[in-house]
């Protein structure tokens, strides 16, 4: 069955449940394609043999009541997986094998999912192009030498190339939505507190959130249902009633008020993006929704705020990688020397840059001017959204200010790299849910995404709006398997 890899996640689930295909067949198909796709460098660690064994076990003794009955899935290498190496894309964790399972991946396992491998990502999720990974660049299946976005670049690449029927990423400032947008796939960052952070290698604790990355909105609803759960091992996990996202998915958006923030029209944005945005608005109106212009006046401050808060938390979160307990250790004359060598050799440049920024903004004498002020601005940004949501049910914006760029194009210009997250970062600062769906192409034929931002814990609403747009926009990804000989 050569077309297994072309099936959507929900179709695979149906066919396995109907016994039309076996898990072994499905798992084999994705592993075969993964093995033919090494050129993409999507994987850091493969778990193929183990996955095949699990699939066989399932076929012998199937349990069709699970939401992911023996579905093979590769996941971002930021999730700790028991007995499977977890690197966070860093040399400092190059040989780290956790003895524990993250709650999100445990939820996948509990619903029958099989982990076939760990996917590449920017080092400690710090990056927008997957170029900061210790394990090398990842290719975007759309075109050779194109970045797949980041930090969940291995995830977006593997998903778009059909090496895995769905995947999960983490999103601190856009790390799910931007790579989804760059690869013509769907990515959802849930409300902060929806998915447990337990067992996810921390980047910026108050912003990090795991989320699904899929081929389509329906798969996204299914994956969200699996991974979102209240977890008492994470003090920031929120105990709200989670929806039946898949069952309740519908395209009826009649009467929905959708906000368009004028602050998201930025200079130098390609014409195609503006056109795409208008197309999105038209679809909403055609389907009975109402477009309302809104004001998010503090949008301009989001990026600078983010680049204070996130590095501050990161500088502290990454202090535990000191060579003492686990991970990479370099020899030193004494304790301080060992620390310096371990961390100099173990971390890459981008990580070091952010640790330095974070250390600086938390230092006495600078704390008030930077960190404290950033926290206040963060509050204002959140207030902007609260105000807007008095008038609208959701907000529509482009996902990114540009399409995917070439590998190496921005590596020497961190600020231009940071600007890539301009539309996604405010949502993390406000802790809101947002989904990016593919909506069109630029003049080079690279995919572009639209972002639907929702109220806190209103994932069902943005899934429905995205579903409605998806049904009407007729997006098709142009992937010609260029990397397979």
């Amino acid at each position: 069955m050569s077309n297994i890899i072309d099936l959507k996640l929900f179709e695979l689930v149906e066919k396995i449940k109907k016994k039309e295909i076996s898990s072994t067949e499905v798992t084999k198909a994705f592993i075969d394609r993964s093995q033919k796709s090494k050129k993409l460098n999507s994987y850091i660690t493969e778990n193929f043999e183990n996955a095949l064994q699990k699939a066989k076990q399932f076929d012998e003794k199937p349990d069709f009541n699970k939401k992911l009955p023996s579905i093979p899935l590769a996941v971002k290498d930021l999730f700790c997986t028991k007995n499977i190496r977890t690197t966070a894309g860093s040399k400092i964790l190059e040989n780290f094998i956790p003895t524990y399972e993250s709650t999100v991946t445990q939820n996948i396992l509990n619903e029958g999912g099989i982990i076939i491998g760990k996917l590449n990502c920017d080092e400690f999720a710090m990056g927008s192009s997957n170029e900061t990974s210790f394990f090398g660049n990842v290719q975007n299946p759309i075109s050779e030498n194109l970045v797949p976005g980041g930090s969940s670049g291995g995830s977006s690449s593997a998903l778009a190339a059909k090496l895995t029927p769905a995947t999960i990423g983490t999103d601190t400032g856009g790390s799910i939505r931007q790579p989804a947008s760059f690869t013509g796939t769907v990515g959802l960052k849930p409300t902060y507190g929806s998915c447990s952070r337990y067992g996810i290698v921390a980047f910026a604790s108050s912003l990090d959130q795991a989320g699904p990355m899929t081929q389509n909105v329906k798969d996204c609803a299914l994956m969200l249902e699996v991974i979102s759960s209240y977890d008492n091992k994470d003090s920031t996990s929120v105990d709200f009633k989670r929806g039946q996202y898949l069952k309740d998915l519908n395209e009826n958006i009649k009467g929905k008020k959708i906000g368009i923030p004028k602050q998201y029209r930025v200079d130098g944005m390609p014409k195609e993006i503006d056109e795409l945005w208008k197309k999105g608005m038209k679809i909403i109106e055609d389907n009975g929704g109402e477009i309302i212009e809104i004001n998010l006046p503090n949008t301009n401050y989001a990026l600078p705020t983010y680049y204070i808060v996130a590095p501050a938390e990161a500088s502290s979160n990454l202090a535990r990688y000191d060579g003492v307990k686990y991970g990479f250790r370099s020899k030193g004359e004494n304790l301080i020397d060992m620390y310096e060598k371990t961390r100099s050799e173990g971390f890459g440049d981008e990580v070091k840059r952010r640790i330095m920024i974070g250390t600086y903004v938390l230092s006495s004498g600078y704390y008030d001017a930077y960190y404290l002020k950033a926290q206040k601005v963060r509050r204002l940004i959140k207030n902007d959204f609260d105000e807007a949501y008095k008038k609208v049910d959701a907000i529509l914006t482009p996902s990114t200010p540009s399409s995917a760029f070439k590998i190496g194009e921005k590596t020497n210009d961190p600020v231009s790299m940071y600007l890539n997250d301009i539309f996604t970062v405010p949502i993390n600062l406000a802790g809101l849910p947002a989904i990016s769906i593919p909506a069109g192409h630029d003049k080079s034929g690279y995919p572009l995404g639209l972002q639907v931002i929702g109220k806190a814990f209103d994932e069902q609403n943005i899934l429905n709006i995205a579903y409605s747009i998806e049904k009407n926009i007729n997006f098709k990804n142009n992937i010609n398997d260029w990397w397979i000989n």
Binding site: Y198, I200, S235, S316, R320, D322, K325, Y326, L362, Y371
Partner: protein, 491 residues
């Protein structure tokens, strides 16, 4: 150049014509009595094999998150109530960032600007009366692990058993003025926490340690001098030695025309001196910021009230009750309430016997016995039940006080029942007037000369007759009755 002016109640340091007052503030680190750690479920048992009480959270593995242990929060609130302090309904856990091998996270979770407990007071019972010491704050924080430098010649070894154990840091105002006050303050804190069951106060196991802030100023001056902080002193004796050394050092510097640098110092217990550890300029920049893994701690009014309702009687109230109800002197009451186990023992004994006798026997014979055998009152060889029986035997006149002391000694060997000892050894007091009269008549008839002398006015001889009667009864004669009958017969 005498260091201490002992005759004065005040602790003053004299140099030439100047007198200096010593100003002391303490930051006491008290280990919270709790089965598990502040942010993880690992056990806290002292003395376990190295690295056996460590969870993934305590060792700061990637992706591990702290979860507040509600019991430790309750313990801190209890302690706050015991310190008559304000309980803050909202408090925040911050990260104190620094690198050290026994600090796995690379930061300590502590409370910085918003502690769980605010200002309070502790009342000291000093020989010349009470003194109130202000409490600045109490906050919760994690303990670090332990670095061991002397096992392996080339490496430092790390034991993380203590990593993450809950500590309460209790910060006093600079209200202490002498070594005696420091002694009294630590003992009182310890007593309060032991009453509450929030800290076992065991200084040998490191459950109670202190950073000591010391400054000096000329007597009468209202301004505080520059202080030095002496880190991590773990016994009252060492605190006193460190303060005495440090205060004298500061006075010497000032007398020689110098000034005190604000710095952190270490106390060397072997050399009995403090040494500079780091100056203010070298002070760590801990980059405190609210821990994003933990939400602000918000306490419900009812939650606090429920804890308040279940606070046991504390030493100050107990002392007051003992004085009012039992008519004890403040001195006696103090001795009996300062340790919770002593007060429990006393209440058990006095519940079933005479209070005055119970007080005397516990603070006299029992304390002497415990001292001699180096035992805690909880390990007393004589149970409260048997001591109250002994006291009742005295009170009823079954035995004399003198015989009681003999019986007490016998009781201490295996907590024997005093009633049985009396019976077995025939130590019952002779209280039958007819029997006593027989003995007395015999003594009178055997000593006609002394009878004559007594009658002629030599009153002192009365004691002679009592002694003879006691002797001939083997010490068992009821002394009161002997007195009565003798007086009747001789007069």
């Amino acid at each position: 150049m005498d260091k201490l002016s002992k005759e004065n109640k005040e602790y003053l340091i004299k140099r030439n014509t100047n007198e200096y007052e010593v100003v002391i503030g303490l930051e006491v680190h008290a280990q919270v009595l709790s089965e598990s750690k502040l942010f993880s479920t690992s056990p806290t048992k002292f003395g376990s094999e190295p690295n056996t009480q460590v969870s993934l959270v305590d060792a700061a593995f990637p992706g591990m998150l702290p979860v507040i242990n509600e019991f430790c929060i309750k313990q801190a609130i209890k302690t706050g109530i015991g310190l008559n302090a304000k309980i803050n309904k909202k408090s925040i856990f911050d990260r104190k960032n620094y690198f050290y091998a026994d600090l796995p996270q690379g930061y300590q979770i502590s409370q910085y600007k918003n502690p769980i407990v605010g200002e309070g007071t502790v009342t000291l019972d000093l020989p010349n009366g009470e003194k109130k010491i202000g409490i600045e704050r109490l906050h919760l924080e994690q303990d670090a692990g332990k670095s061991i430098h002397d096992i392996d010649p080339n490496n430092t070894l790390v034991d993380l058993n203590r990593s993450g154990v809950a500590l309460m840091e209790i910060v006093s105002k600079p209200d202490l003025r002498s070594l005696d006050e420091v002694n009294s303050y630590i003992k009182k804190l310890r007593s309060i926490m032991r009453y509450l069951g929030t800290c076992d106060g065991n200084m040998q196991e490191g459950s109670l340690r202190a950073d000591v802030n010391v400054s000096v100023r000329k007597k009468g001056s209202k301004e505080l001098g520059t202080r030095c902080e002496i880190k991590n002193v773990n016994s009252i004796k060492f605190m006193q030695m460190a303060i005495d050394y440090e205060a004298n050092r500061q006075v010497d510097v000032i007398e020689e025309g110098g000034s005190i640098d604000q710095e952190t110092r270490l106390f060397d217990t072997k050399k009995n001196e403090t040494r500079s550890m780091r100056s203010k300029e070298d002070a760590h920049d801990y980059r405190y910021f609210p821990d994003p893994d933990l939400l602000p701690l918000e306490l419900d009014e009812n939650f606090i009230n429920d804890i308040k309702k279940n606070i046991p009687e504390l030493p100050d109230e107990k002392k007051k009750r003992f004085i009012e109800k039992f008519k004890l002197s403040p001195y006696e009451a103090n001795i009996l309430v300062s340790d919770i186990d002593t007060s429990k023992y006393f209440e058990e004994v006095s519940k079933n016997s005479d209070v005055k006798l119970a007080t005397n026997w516990i603070t006299g014979e029992l304390f002497a016995l415990l001292n001699e055998k180096n035992l805690e009152i909880t390990e007393s060889p004589i149970s409260s039940k048997n001591l109250s029986k002994l006291i009742n035997l005295i009170k009823k006149g079954t035995i004399s006080g003198k015989i009681a002391k003999t019986i007490f000694e016998l009781m201490s060997d295996g907590d024997k029942d005093p009633e049985k000892i009396v019976e077995e050894k025939g130590l019952k007091q002779q209280s039958d007037p007819k029997e006593l009269e027989k003995i007395i008549d015999k003594i009178i008839s055997e000593n006609p000369k002394n009878v004559e002398l007594y009658k002629s006015g030599k009153d002192k001889l009365f004691g002679f007759f009592v002694g003879q009667v006691m002797k001939s009864s083997g010490g068992k004669a009821n002394p009161q009755l002997v007195n009565e009958i003798l007086k009747k017969k001789l007069n």
